[in-house]
Amino acid sequence: MRYHISMSALAVLFLFPLAWSGWSSVRGQPGSGQAGGYGFGNYTQMAAFGEGLPTYLTNSLLVSAMTVAGTLVVAALGGYAFARFSFPGKNLLFLAALAILMVPYATILIPLYVLLGYIGLQNSLVGLSLVFVMFQLPFALYMMRNSFEAIPRELEEAALVDGCGTFRAFSRILLPAVRPGLITVGLFAFLASWNDFFAPLILLNDGANFPLPVAVVSMTQRTFGAIDYGMLQAGVMVMAIPCLVLFLVLQRHYVRGFMSGALRG
């Protein structure tokens, strides 16, 4: 019983800030979007902030969708190649991809900013998504290679003997079999791209292109007028709720990412 009392107290401590933020986002405050009582005034206020919530939300969704799709395609094809084929340079390429983990994120964003300028992707959501795909690659590739290796070879060999090309065997037979791995990789890619603040801060310079985190942080950095804290917590909720829901629904797949040892760089 003492165990449950102290653990519950701890759980409340961890959950309190989230609950407080949700409550503050709908609570009335004189001089804010929600002048009194409870309601979604702070949210409507936030919807009109800067370029408008629809713009920021669309940017965030676009970047996340492109990152998830890109990571899945590159890591599924690559994982298949590393699990089932041998070709010159294979081990070198795999090690180079894993080395991305060794190099601190923040230190190559400055050259990436310059490089994306060279290839016409500066201040572009596509460029930002490509950078996210690169940062996801070590984890995703490692996860997918292990997923493909766990499939019995006989399954694929039967298809190949029946005259399927390797791509038919891949798309019809192997891909459905590695679905759990794909879900884990996709989930990690979504959470990373949806939440990241530093990469868009550096790679984007046009307010109309900002994803949610950069846009909401800019609410705290207004040069005139007081900071609207209620609106700020509404912004926090808009960012956090999709992640909380996804985590609660896909908890199993999330934990698999930890179990895989892929974090072990």
């Binding site: 653990m7 759980a11 961890f14 490089l115 690169m134 950095q221 700020l232 926090v236 072990r264």
Partner: protein, 303 residues
């Protein structure tokens, strides 16, 4: 690279002896290269090229607009004379030391408390982890409101949460502990659950006390996992940016400026990309060396 097994040799189903087998193998090699081509493209263009570029940039005067001019080693000379950077190194090291100790102890405590399957444990685990599902930027903004004395619930305490250097650091540490304790707990749990139950049973039947079981069995067998957690925590803390940029904004009086913040300021406030690149190279070399060292310790723990 510990923990990553080298790729198993592939048993090629079409590798039959003879010329037909040879061409079949060639075409299979080609297919493999084709599947790996997107990976290669991303790794080369977005990782290898920037690595080379950052070194080249650090050897040039590189304004945001206009042509770069070679000026080595001026950018590196500046690094050693930049008082803000030197202060930020000390501050970041101090922050890293404090966070790593507190976070590890908290995560270990939580992991031990929820390692056994019993009623309620699934809820506790989810509760401890839930802050980790929220993005770090969102978490920093949450605390920005939570610890504001006019808006947040703790105004009655009369504490100036981000007004003095010590309190700003303390508040940031609370934010980071809240956000990352569950994450580290989950890492440790995977290690705890890999310890066979039989080991514990054998120890118990030999009359070992709980303390003995913890120090003689749990801790040694958990060593590789603890090492992993330390690596992630140390590297993450040395690269701290979001918490200090969003939550304390480097203040008060530049007392909470981290190394990565100096890189950012050099690049986008002083428009000195060459100087920012030189700082990046210094940080990169230091961290890769540190990682390599930690890997060796980790590997030693496994042997």
């Amino acid at each position: 690279m510990t923990g990553i097994a080298p790729a198993r040799p592939v048993r090629d189903p079409q590798a039959v002896a003879g010329r037909a087998g040879h061409t079949a193998r060639r075409s299979r090699q080609l297919a493999g290269m084709l599947y790996a081509a997107p990976t290669a493209l991303i790794v080369v263009v977005l990782f290898v090229v920037p690595l080379v570029l950052v070194v080249w940039m650090s050897l040039n005067r590189w304004p945001v607009l206009g042509a770069p001019t070679f000026n080595a080693p001026a950018n590196y000379a500046k690094v050693s004379q930049d008082p803000l950077f030197l202060d930020s190194v000390l501050f970041t090291l101090k922050y890293t030391a404090i966070i790593t100790v507190l976070l590890s102890l908290l995560a270990l405590g939580l992991a031990l408390a929820v390692q056994e399957r019993r009623p309620g444990v699934a809820f506790y685990r989810a509760a401890f982890f839930l802050p980790g599902a929220v993005g770090f930027a969102a978490a920093a903004l949450l605390f920005y409101g939570l610890l504001n004395n006019d808006f947040g619930p703790f105004g009655f305490l009369g504490v100036n949460w981000i007004g003095t250097p010590n309190m700003a650091l303390t508040s940031t540490i609370m934010l980071v502990l809240w956000r990352f304790a569950g994450f580290n707990m989950l890492i440790l749990l995977t290690g705890l659950q890999a310890i066979p139950v039989e080991v514990y049973e054998a120890a118990r039947s030999d009359g070992a006390t709980r303390m003995q079981i913890f120090t003689k069995i749990t801790l040694p067998l958990l060593r590789p996992t603890i090492a992993l957690m330390l690596i992630l925590s140390i590297t993450g803390s040395l690269l701290a940016f979001d918490q200090f940029f969003i939550f304390t904004n480097g203040g008060p009086d530049n007392s909470t400026v981290s190394m990565v913040m100096v890189i950012y300021r050099n690049a986008f406030f002083r428009f000195d990309l060459g100087g920012a690149a030189a700082l990046s190279v210094v940080l990169l070399v230091a961290l890769v060396a540190l990682n390599a060292l930690q890997m060796r310790v980790l590997r030693g723990g496994r042997a």
